[in-house]
């Protein structure tokens, strides 16, 4: 090291006094203006919470007590960040500069494709498009197993089962994806449909061919998918509905679906599914849509629904010769469910992934349709449906003779402060997939979580293996644990902390899965 003296930061000789005054004044004005605007323009909504799909942060109350004082700065910064003056203007300029000026995305959750098309990055969509996260053979087998189990379970009650996936936009418009995102393999949907076609007889509707066909009829403002949204358009949905109808017609002799000829296409100035509003650019990024209007008056009458999940649609049709149907769906079937309602004498549409067996069987449907968005192939575990079928798990458990661990309340002892029980180490077992049968008393409804703790204790991290629903009273439960490592600690307990004594474990047994 040589001796040296760092230089002192000195003002650049320059900037005439006039410019210095101008710059200083500008800076003070610039940093004060958000404060002034916020103080004087009380009624301004600095950000549109509906556009951003979230609730903007509330102003925190003045802290009282040490704990509140600790969290106050964070809460205040969240509130201030959401409400400072000129926020909406700055956001709009930011998004406009990036989307329009630079042709790129202003947020991590989306990308801009060719011709200004928007694609979501949610649920590792880009990796799925590229084929970078393909299903393993095991996962494909599990999907097949799950779907067949559900189909067979329903078939025992004389109910047909149809499963469909609403393809992601890039499955139909891959040419709109940026060229830099090279594909390295088939998408998960492609893999699953190919596998099921070869290995299963379960009715899985592949909607891609009809949507690709619908794409051929695209016009300027009339496409099969929304360029600025993630969903199919009503015309796209209609193509999917017709295809689904053919499948239902094959499954149910009494099913009479509608065709495209029963609808008229009407151009609309409404943007449909567009993320332009979320970018505060709806006046710049204009998207028009085409609505599908049924030619005949609607006959299915919506019924008041009580005790069902939110956004449930239930209809009764005057023609009681039509079959009864239940649809479990997500946003891809928002429009389609109203069309399907015309095809059933009794129709229930649940906007959810969970399959409430008791409720659904109670509706005595002739068919259960499940329609999921393509991204569900990433965020839904392959065994999700199995977890929801206690009867299937029970049968599997009974069939398996190899018990790995049996404990009762004495073995388990008391729960940790967090309410979790640590299970004793199991006998000889290589790990992987196991089934748990347990009985426990719960004072209230809730859910029970199974966690795997790393070999290094809590420092090794905890991974959720399964989550099962709890009822008040005695629970007789089965859970499929995937990826269990016997060298780590298995914990179970309520998913949210409960009061002491809320849960009482009676006994528990773990068996190897034998399939």
């Amino acid at each position: 090291m040589r001796g040296r003296r760092a230089s002192v930061s000195t003002p650049l000789a320059g900037s005439s006094p006039g410019w210095s005054r101008f710059l200083s004044g500008f800076f003070i004005l610039a940093v004060c203006s958000p404060l002034v605007r916020q103080a004087w323009v009380e009624d301004e909504v600095p950000g549109d919470s509906r556009a951003e799909f979230r609730k903007l942060a509330d102003k925190p109350a003045w802290p009282e007590g040490r704990a509140a004082l600790g969290s106050y700065p964070r809460e205040f910064e969240a509130w201030y960040g959401d409400h400072f003056g000129f926020r909406a203007n700055l956001l709009r300029w930011h998004n406009g500069l990036k989307w329009i000026g630079l042709g790129t995305s202003p947020a991590q959750s989306m990308i801009q494709g060719r011709d200004g098309w928007m694609f979501t990055t949610d649920s590792r969509s880009i990796e799925m498009y590229r084929g970078a996260i393909p299903f393993t053979r095991r996962e494909l087998e599990d999907w097949c197993w799950s779907l067949e189990s559900r189909r067979d379970r329903l078939a025992q009650r004389g109910i047909k089962y149809v499963f469909a996936i609403g393809p992601s936009k890039w499955e139909i418009y891959p040419e709109k994806m940026p060229a830099r995102l090279g594909r390295v393999g088939p998408s998960r949907l492609e893999q699953l449909t190919t596998y099921l076609r070869q290995h299963s007889t379960v009715r899985v509707v592949d909607l891609r061919p009809v949507l690709l066909e619908a794409k051929k009829a695209d016009g300027k403002d009339d496409l099969a998918y929304y360029p600025l949204g993630t969903h199919w358009t009503e015309r796209g949905a209609l193509a999917a509905y017709e295809r689904l109808g053919r499948e239902l017609g094959e499954a149910l002799a009494s099913y009479r679906g509608q065709t495209a000829a029963d609808f008229e296409l009407v151009a609309s100035d409404a943007p449909g599914d567009s993320w332009a509003r979320r970018m505060y650019l709806e006046d710049v990024l204009v998207q028009k849509s085409v609505k599908c209007r049924p030619k005949a008056p609607r006959q299915a009458q919506p019924q008041a629904v009580t005790g069902a999940p939110p956004r449930t649609l239930r209809t009764l049709h005057p023609n009681q010769d039509l079959p009864r149907g239940v649809l479990l769906h997500d946003s891809f079937s928002e429009q389609m469910r109203h069309w399907l309602a015309e095809d059933f004498s009794y129709f229930s549409a649940y906007w959810r992934y969970e399959f409430d067996e008791e409720r659904i069987l109670g509706e005595e449907p002739d068919v259960v349709i499940q329609m999921w968005v393509g991204r569900a192939l990433e965020f839904m575990p392959a065994t999700f449906m199995l977890q929801e079928s206690p009867a299937v798990l029970r049968e599997l458990f009974m069939r398996s003779g190899h018990s790995i661990l049996q404990v009762n309340s004495e073995h388990v002892g008391t729960a940790e402060a967090s309410g979790l029980w640590r299970l004793p180490p199991p006998g000889e077992h290589a790990g992987g997939r196991v089934l748990v049968h347990l009985r426990l008393r719960s004072k209230r409804k809730g859910s029970l979580v199974f966690l795997q703790e790393g070999a290094a204790g809590a420092g090794g991290g905890r991974r959720r293996l399964a989550l099962v629903r709890l009822n008040a009273g005695m629970n007789d439960l089965y859970a499929l644990l995937d990826g269990w490592r016997p060298d780590g600690q298995l914990l179970l307990g309520p998913s949210v902390p409960l009061a002491e004594g809320s849960l009482a474990l009676v006994d528990l047994e773990i068996r190897e899965v034998d399939r």
Partner: protein
Amino acid sequence: MVFSSQVFLFLFLPLVLLLYLVLGRWFRNLVLLTASLFFYAWGEQEVVILMLASIVGNYAFGRWLGSAQERGERGKGVVTLSLVFNLALLVVFKYANWIWETLSGLMVELGLSSTGLPVIGEVCGPPLMAMGLIDAPLAADWQIRLPIGISFFTFQAMSYVIDIYRRDAEVQKNPIHFATYIALFPQLIAGPIVRYRDIAKQLVERTVTLSGFAYGVRRFVVGLGKKMLIANIVALQADRIFELPLEQVSAPLAWFGTLCYTLQIYFDFSGYSDMAIGLGHMFGFRFLENFNFPYISRSITEFWRRWHISLSSWYRDYLYIPLGGNRCSPLRVYGNLLTVFILCGLWHGASWSFLVWGLYHGLFLVIERLGLGRGLDKLAKPLRHAYTLLVVMIGWVFFRATDISQAIAMLSAMAGFGAEGAARLQPVGLFVDPVVLLALLAGLIGSMPWVRTLGHYYKRLLTEERGRGQLWAMDAASFLAVALILLLSAMEMSANTYNPFIYFRF
């Protein structure tokens, strides 16, 4: 609170500036001290007590040392005590967790224990409970919390006591002035390390001039732009690449990730320094420069004259020279260099990666002294630049990696020993879009002293009568550039609060 947040830029800063400029000069340090303590407590809450303890302790040591020197004593005992006090703060709050874990692992490795030491929470819990500081036992994963900026304010405090001991500075008897020096918010959390003797006079007497304030605005805005428009953008790509499973990292991607990190760390750190220097000017202070375009260096020795200058000069003056500096046997000099750079590495954080990074740089300094430096002098300039950048970028891999094994895996990938097919699975194109390209371009241009050259040209124009028109045009361009950078940075900042796509699960 960070400078690049709305709360700082649009609330804290205008209020403090207005108060500071409106109130008379007698209140200025009081305003700055109150603002600084609030600034620190806002982010660190009760940990502000630690900083207050450092202020009280070092103020007392300074007064004690001053009294001893007035009595004709050297005060070696006092300065030693003060060093023990300051280093103890650092060891306990910055290094204790790491030392504890390392010792625990070592005991297991050596077979002295099957489980190692008890977790640190078990050891610290009972005494804290006995003192009534906590109500319940500490969690199993409890760790001693690292107070932000502790390395900066502790090194400043140490420089104060040592400078008095060396009679390079006078004892500061006014506690407000002294506390302002330690807690001064512009450089509190990210430097530069301001030595007491450099601003002792300014603490008592300083003037806010129009040209100084305008210069401060320019420096602050340029720093903000470096952080928001370059560092944050390339940081995202660096993070994505360094977080990938290593079997997915190809050689081009590993180099690209390292390039992004190379630009990120420079523009982040020098951006903060620029903001600190700029804020200092707004309040009438003149801080030392902390960076001098380090990536144009032609050797590692030169790099360390340009990188984090306040830290390297601190180590030079308070450790390297007392250890003997260059005035001892070559072997001793090399040993001193390695010691200083290992400690320099550890200053950045308590982990083996930082230690290795420091040792790595120390080794290159030694090798350059052993003859490589003379060899480099004979090479063409581009080759010397290439050598320096290569060494620095490899060093950043250790700095960025979560641990040594990740660093080695990343370096293997850079050397072309990555997994087969990785380039196809994660091509570089996945990480590049127009914004990233612009940030990279701005980073590459901003790493070179173009603006300084313009500044020199500007100075020349000042002395030439015929250059008035050009001068006006440059002033106008400078103003527009500052306004544009401020606007773009504020837009980026607003986007950080904008998270519209937390997509409902339908």
